[in-house]
Symmetry: D2
Subunit: 435 residues, 4 copies
Amino acid sequence: MSKSTVKPAEGKLGVLVVGLGAVSSTFMTGVLMARKGLAKPVGSMTQYDKIRVGKGADKKYLKYNEIVPIADLNDIVFGAWDVYPANAYESAINCEVLKEKDINPVKDELIKIVPMKAAFDKNYAKRLDGDNVKDVKDRWDMTEQIREDIRRFKKENGVDRVVVLWAASTEVYVPVDEKVHNTLADLEAAMKADDKEHIAPSMCYAYAALKEGAPFIMGAPNTTVDIPAMWELSEQTGMPIAGKDFKTGQTLVKSGFAPIIGTRCLGLSGWFSTNILGNRDGLVLDEPANFRTKEVSKLSTLESILVPEEQPDLYTDYYHKVRINYYPPRNDNKEGWDNIDIFGWMGYPMQIKINFLCRDSILAAPLCLDLVLLSDLAARAGRHGIQRFLSFFLKSPMHDYTKGEVPVNHLFQQYVMLKNAIREMGGYEADEEID
Amino acid sequence: MSKSTVKPAEGKLGVLVVGLGAVSSTFMTGVLMARKGLAKPVGSMTQYDKIRVGKGADKKYLKYNEIVPIADLNDIVFGAWDVYPANAYESAINCEVLKEKDINPVKDELIKIVPMKAAFDKNYAKRLDGDNVKDVKDRWDMTEQIREDIRRFKKENGVDRVVVLWAASTEVYVPVDEKVHNTLADLEAAMKADDKEHIAPSMCYAYAALKEGAPFIMGAPNTTVDIPAMWELSEQTGMPIAGKDFKTGQTLVKSGFAPIIGTRCLGLSGWFSTNILGNRDGLVLDEPANFRTKEVSKLSTLESILVPEEQPDLYTDYYHKVRINYYPPRNDNKEGWDNIDIFGWMGYPMQIKINFLCRDSILAAPLCLDLVLLSDLAARAGRHGIQRFLSFFLKSPMHDYTKGEVPVNHLFQQYVMLKNAIREMGGYEADEEID
Amino acid sequence: MSKSTVKPAEGKLGVLVVGLGAVSSTFMTGVLMARKGLAKPVGSMTQYDKIRVGKGADKKYLKYNEIVPIADLNDIVFGAWDVYPANAYESAINCEVLKEKDINPVKDELIKIVPMKAAFDKNYAKRLDGDNVKDVKDRWDMTEQIREDIRRFKKENGVDRVVVLWAASTEVYVPVDEKVHNTLADLEAAMKADDKEHIAPSMCYAYAALKEGAPFIMGAPNTTVDIPAMWELSEQTGMPIAGKDFKTGQTLVKSGFAPIIGTRCLGLSGWFSTNILGNRDGLVLDEPANFRTKEVSKLSTLESILVPEEQPDLYTDYYHKVRINYYPPRNDNKEGWDNIDIFGWMGYPMQIKINFLCRDSILAAPLCLDLVLLSDLAARAGRHGIQRFLSFFLKSPMHDYTKGEVPVNHLFQQYVMLKNAIREMGGYEADEEID
Amino acid sequence: MSKSTVKPAEGKLGVLVVGLGAVSSTFMTGVLMARKGLAKPVGSMTQYDKIRVGKGADKKYLKYNEIVPIADLNDIVFGAWDVYPANAYESAINCEVLKEKDINPVKDELIKIVPMKAAFDKNYAKRLDGDNVKDVKDRWDMTEQIREDIRRFKKENGVDRVVVLWAASTEVYVPVDEKVHNTLADLEAAMKADDKEHIAPSMCYAYAALKEGAPFIMGAPNTTVDIPAMWELSEQTGMPIAGKDFKTGQTLVKSGFAPIIGTRCLGLSGWFSTNILGNRDGLVLDEPANFRTKEVSKLSTLESILVPEEQPDLYTDYYHKVRINYYPPRNDNKEGWDNIDIFGWMGYPMQIKINFLCRDSILAAPLCLDLVLLSDLAARAGRHGIQRFLSFFLKSPMHDYTKGEVPVNHLFQQYVMLKNAIREMGGYEADEEID
């Protein structure tokens, strides 16, 4: 019997995904297959992980839904926007992530997921050229149209709660501009003034979601909700926001491997990371302006794990470099190669090389599921604003930088934050320290 | 101001090392260089790590010696036994781990470390053939001679406290025999009966150390102190014991990397580990009977981290294989290659390959230092028997298997155990759970 | 217009394969698919390679079948023996090398390839336990039954020419015994005396094939035709023999990469090769007695490419080690990892690591095709005995060691031998030297 | 008894090197050590390789100097230019390629090699800022000053023959401009007009060398002598020219490995090459304009080995990408990582990954020696213009593109060209075809 005081997960949960590409179609197919018992949602914390609650004699290990009211997979209803008109079935087939035999049993359901017209601005993703695109007057109108989409989706599907998840491409880099992004009033003014330079389309989705009472999750490294104006809005509407950038391949390994080095007090002189990938994400990132957004997101990981100020003998002046290369032969099967130069006793150098042959969408799909279910949970728990407990799932975890907060990138510290939040929402003591 | 009630570390600390090869000479050289300020003891927790003590407003991050009375590097006096007569300087030069410029500044001190004759039985290490060996009547006499060595060492060096550290080769595999190894009485009887099959030379060292009031640390995977008879003795003499097998290269990575997989709820279908190394350790392990001892030690690591019973969908029937290959071209610079077959969403497979170009002695030396200092600390704290808090440093951590205890191999759980013990000895609350 | 005087390839060509496992079923499926234009026989020299013939003004680049009369894919008829009763379709599906969509278009043809009962002796492959096995009185009877199978196959299929190809497992190591293996008379006597120790089942297949006027190809590292008695028989019946051990993954790379080192006059201090594979071949090789056969085959490769006697400064005392590990998670997708320690200017060391994620059967299938077609060609050209020009396809190329011949393992020298033989059979000058 | 009609190598050979950095100082140190018998010039073809001459009964294997009159190591006199004033000893110590014990025995000789002031233009290498630089009026004056340096060097050292070797940095990319680079007259006019955009400093060195009767070798990927104007000059003065870009690490492997794939008729879908290096070369290449020069040089390698037109099923549309990354932690020990996507039977994909932990200067030094000795040989043999037989040593071998010549990048074909030239100069038949 759960002691949680979180509102129960009654009724259907709408999941509206921006971008119906490889990640989204793999996510949807897996959920639909899992609820028929035809596939296992491996990699999903909400479906597999067990958390200790209590101590000593009261110690128990419980699954998340034994602690808090997580929405059931059977209650999920999917919708999407995309610049390409392909439905979820066509998308799943085209992106070649899953074998046909793992898609066909849910073909009928996937076919019905037809993308709504996307709110799109080609200047933000030059390499994309779909035409399933909204005709908008300005950024404000763009926002209004998305809000209308959300309302219609809820009505047509008899859905009470909606979560909006960005699983689309990386946009070009939008630096935070204090004249536009710091207050909600300024943001709204810029939308009305159709300030295309400072208002990325993703911001229109986020604004619309929050206004319609839906949590918003940013799965790409876009600035979007990582600005004070959006925090203000999320407080106002009482909605959670989470981001940014799904922690899938190389950064997942980095955020787990750097702690090994740090915990053993080994030194670091350099870390070189390169990636090859051939899917639409890789194509977009081949554009330097879009890569810049990603690079900023990926580079920060080490800095907060191996900290020069704390261990100057070990972590001063290490050289960290990240490269991403578009390489079509592999399609969605991206690959990371890391070379790590460490040093030990008396400063003697050693090397570690990690070669990760991963699959982008296979690693991202369970993150989508967890982020959606936990954002919905947070909303019902009355938690609004930045959800730091979701850092575990994200490459560049949001934090209130205006207050000098630093991000937590250490995988096992992120895990403690996740567990503590679940415990707390479950009515247990959040009894772990992160170090 | 420390709140610790542990006896202070007054006077000199004798460190008697069994085996004066690559690991030992690197350890000694580094300590001597470090206390002249000419090298940094990188990789040593006692010299670098900081631990949180207290919570909330009382939270502080302190180095170990700010919490508990760790012996000072300046108080260490080294001694050794070896089957080869080379002194520590000659050994350091011959094994080619360190550059001459990193040895010569402490040449005078190293030259004085001349090994005592070793207690040796060629049947336990066929590939070794040194002749700096004790002439013994039987195993009991072997033990008596070692005890006499220890007493003489203490007297000649004006040393009160001694720690005995095994940094010698892997012996052939000695399975636990309940007729010989379960009680101290049986063990002593077997020594007196000169039972060469069940009493490895290492057991004579351990027995002698404990009898003389010295903690004993087993750095190889030998059975030695991993038997109830030795636990009984260590209780009797109030001495700590620790073992077994320094966690240096591949297993260090494994015990840190497996938690990444487990924490993210990814599945595992196989893990293949191979090693090439060319030092004396590699030569000895090229003998199948000696490798068997090592294999048992290395294989257990995964089982307690990725547990089939807890996550049957993810960890049932994974295939784990460990190989070690003698490969002279690299000498002490051993190399590990791991191939890890994981699976994610809907069971789709991915691969991770880790190539670790490490240096055996460079990784082992700080472990020697920490194990010695922390065993000495434990002795002063009145802790006797198996020191589970030292699992962090060991490939195959000792545990009371007669009571069904399971080893903790998860690097970050081991780290919690280490921190809690330091906190406790420091008079703070041991306030972390290991999960 | 070819100038070849080789007999034309008229009528059908029977291909009888010993072992209907992964390699054979992939080979057969690919040939059947290719002749429908549904797949490309990539990796096959007879189907793709072009050879220069003539020099200067007469120089031309021609495909093999423009030089010599190679049998057409459309004229091939397949048959097989196996200890398991599965037909070629079932085998292709079970071994999971090819996707179903690449098998199904030729399902009808594959289903008809039902294996005849195998001549089998469990002592030669302990890990196999099929029961589609001949009931034989002795080795001589075993031979007779195989001969009867060949005659029946020819008759039932209206086939004139047959080639017998061993694509089955590695047998336990049979050292050459001069009392049994040196003369045909001794060999036949041993068969009649049912000398199970010296007469492997594979020898019965080879004897039967040669007696029935069929070339015999040994694709595993078995001794079989690598003995003077078989050479005598092949001379007697005018048949070609070829072997041994398909050069597929790691050794292919080794025989091509060692020449890079040798040609550039770089030194070698060590080469460590390890393999993981999970198919039936890996299972059999997990048995030490069977691995020994393979190890002997694989180790010889380097010795004849990087020769200490010729370059003592560069190639004296390099350390060469080969390991094969059964590792089920990967099935047929075997993987090689090579570490190569080279040295350059002034003896300074460097390292090369090669990680080959290959597919055993995908690499072996084109070798099967080429060896079959080229053995059939050789037979029509009147070439009998050891076919050294086929060394290109083999890990451990046969050569007359009784005359002090040394094997050629250098990939590019083997290629010259192959080209020269084709030129010669085509009526052109064999105008290349191998160095 | 050599049958060569090449002029003997009498008197001293001056070797003037542009750039006295890691490569040059390693080259010089090794030659000086080798002639004292203290080091072996491993990797040098002229010192180690043996070539077959004659066929059949006349076949012999001879070292180069048994075939042609190669200059003796004892006759070499070194000189250099550099923008930094450090002498060869200081440079060898600073660049940390060689251990001090391998430098000190020739310290006295190295100290005397003091660099002359360099002809330098910072716009061609922004990251360099040495001030040991000539004060010049214009490009023509730059050339004149270099000529004067050469004459003075010859006189002061009693040297008859000189070879000038560029072992300095990569300059920014200078595309061939037909108005400037096509005729000697245009080139000279541009020098006189001080056309800094089209006349790189390296062209002044080359021009000066050729005018002074010295062969010129371009070891970087600079355009320099790869223009018709220089070919005209080299014809005029009868001097050989060679270039460009020493074939050291990754491209050496590529030019040897691609032939393995091609020879076995395996398909290629992609080849991704990345490099990390931390020496001065890496620093310069971190500048995009300089990298462009290198990229053009490195990309061409595959195109001429795996040719789509010849094997459209196998080599059409493969994706080839080359990256170089400045990564200081490794200094001169650069590292290449190649991922090669091949396909076999029925198009099934496989992967090969090559990780080369090499040392730039250790691989380059023997190339310097061979290029110098063989250019000097060619000069004495009366061979002028582009020396295609030296392609073996070069990443981007020069060829007369105005006549539609294509470069030969296939390592083993380059080797045939080398052997044939040596044979020819030695009075033997150049009897090998390159395929």
